[in-house]
């Protein structure tokens, strides 16, 4: 093999550059906690519509399901696995607790590089009036 040293240096350099993203993400391990622990406000309480683990992995499925059922089937109430009743509403039910949309939604989504298009149309908490923010979230059990 000709130019043994030059070629092997070249290969080594290429491998280093190609694996750079892996090293980079390994170095920044600390920042990943945004995905593991989104900022949940104290006012949000202990439980979400469903269990924390379920919401973490399936919130997008649930939101799409709610969206389709409300718009296309006019079914506006959701009964969760504990028999509690919720209004299927992003601005009211979801953002009623998670009014910190910037920290709660955006940090994870920026890191996961998933664009949230919900708020192109749906209003953000800061665009809602005080009255509207407090009033709508309803949370009652089936028996009532």
């Amino acid at each position: 093999m000709y130019n043994k040293t030059k070629v092997s240096i070249g290969i080594l350099l290429f491998l280093c550059l190609a694996s750079l993203p892996f090293w980079h993400s390994l170095m920044q391990d600390g920042e990943d906690s945004a995905i593991k622990n989104p900022v949940i406000l104290a006012t949000a309480g202990e439980t979400c519509v469903e269990d924390r683990a379920f919401m973490r992995s399936n919130h997008m499925v649930l939101l799409h399901q709610w969206r389709d059922e409300v718009v296309r089937e006019n079914k506006r109430e959701y009964t969760n696995s504990h028999g509690e009743l919720f209004q299927k509403s992003l601005s009211k039910t979801c953002l009623g607790c998670h009014s910190n949309k910037k920290e709660f939604c955006e940090t994870c989504h920026a890191q996961a590089s998933v664009k949230v298009t919900c708020f192109d149309c749906h209003l953000q908490p800061e665009q809602m009036t005080e009255k509207n923010r407090q009033e709508p979230y309803f949370h009652k059990s089936r028996g009532n």
């Binding site: 969206r67 718009v71 006019n74 149309c121």
Partner: protein
């Protein structure tokens, strides 16, 4: 090797032809003679007892009043622009000659020709916009309301070409730029989607009327279930002479005009 069959090639083709004729022609013939009734095209009609509609009394509606469109547009976050080219309309007024072009306007006084009449999506029984929509973003609800799923709209504007009433508007701009005040109870739309009247689908579920009907102090708009013989709107339609826009097209509008 030689086949020792009684059916030769010619006979085989003949038999196949006859079998095909019986197969294809038989079903058509059977359905032709089986019953005198035409097949039900609108299967929804039997299943659903509700078909919402409006009756607009043009005599009671003052030409210069815009109460209904003001409340509708503010409640549904419908933007207003200076330019007519990009305007968004859910409910608005249009000269009579545009609403009923088939009328013999050349024989009528100019004032009658240009009198502004109220118009809105007709929520047709046979809606062309629903038929042409490639993504089923526009669909017909069981209660007859023609709804839009803005999540699915790709902005192709086929529905705008399909609608013979001009009831649809396209968002050329971000609608939030045309809004001075946002109603927090209702979302806005986004650039690149079509929008139209939804007959207040978010509101009428609990038995109340659309905003335009509620707001009208003259009682010029009646809202109700066209399929209920006891409803106010049905009785009014039975009593009076009513018109529908471009009824000859066969779209069967659910918005009626008392003239």
């Amino acid at each position: 090797m030689k086949f020792d069959n009684k059916v030769n090639r010619k006979e085989f083709l003949k038999l196949t032809g006859i079998a095909a004729l019986i197969g294809v022609g038989g079903k058509t013939g059977f359905s032709l003679y089986a019953s005198g009734q035409e097949p039900e095209t609108d299967s929804d009609e039997n299943k659903n007892k509700i078909r919402y509609g409006l009756l607009i009394d043009t005599k009671k509606c003052p030409p210069d009043c815009t109460d209904c469109s003001d409340i509708c547009h503010s409640k549904h976050n419908v933007p207003s622009y200076k330019s007519k080219k990009i305007e968004i309309k859910w409910i608005w007024k249009e000269p009579a000659k545009h609403l009923f072009p088939e009328n013999n306007w050349d024989l009528k006084p100019v004032a009658a020709k240009n009198v502004p009449l109220l118009t809105v999506c007709n929520h047709c029984k046979n809606p062309p916009c629903v038929r042409v929509c490639p993504t089923q973003a526009t669909f017909k609800r069981d209660d007859g309301i023609i709804m839009m799923d803005y999540h699915r709209c790709i902005g192709c504007r086929f529905c705008m070409a399909g609608c013979p009433y001009g009831s649809r508007s396209f968002n050329y701009k971000d609608p939030r730029k045309g809004l001075t005040e946002l109603n927090p109870d209702y979302p806005t739309r986004t650039t690149g989607v079509v929008e139209k009247c939804n007959l207040c689908a978010e509101k009428i579920g609990d038995g109340s009327s659309p905003y335009c009907v509620e707001k009208c102090s003259k009682g010029a708009i009646i809202f109700g279930n066209l399929n209920d013989p006891e409803s106010e709107i049905r009785k009014a339609i039975e009593q009076d002479h009513v018109l529908r826009r471009k009824a000859e097209l066969g779209t069967e509008p659910s918005v009626f005009y008392k003239v």
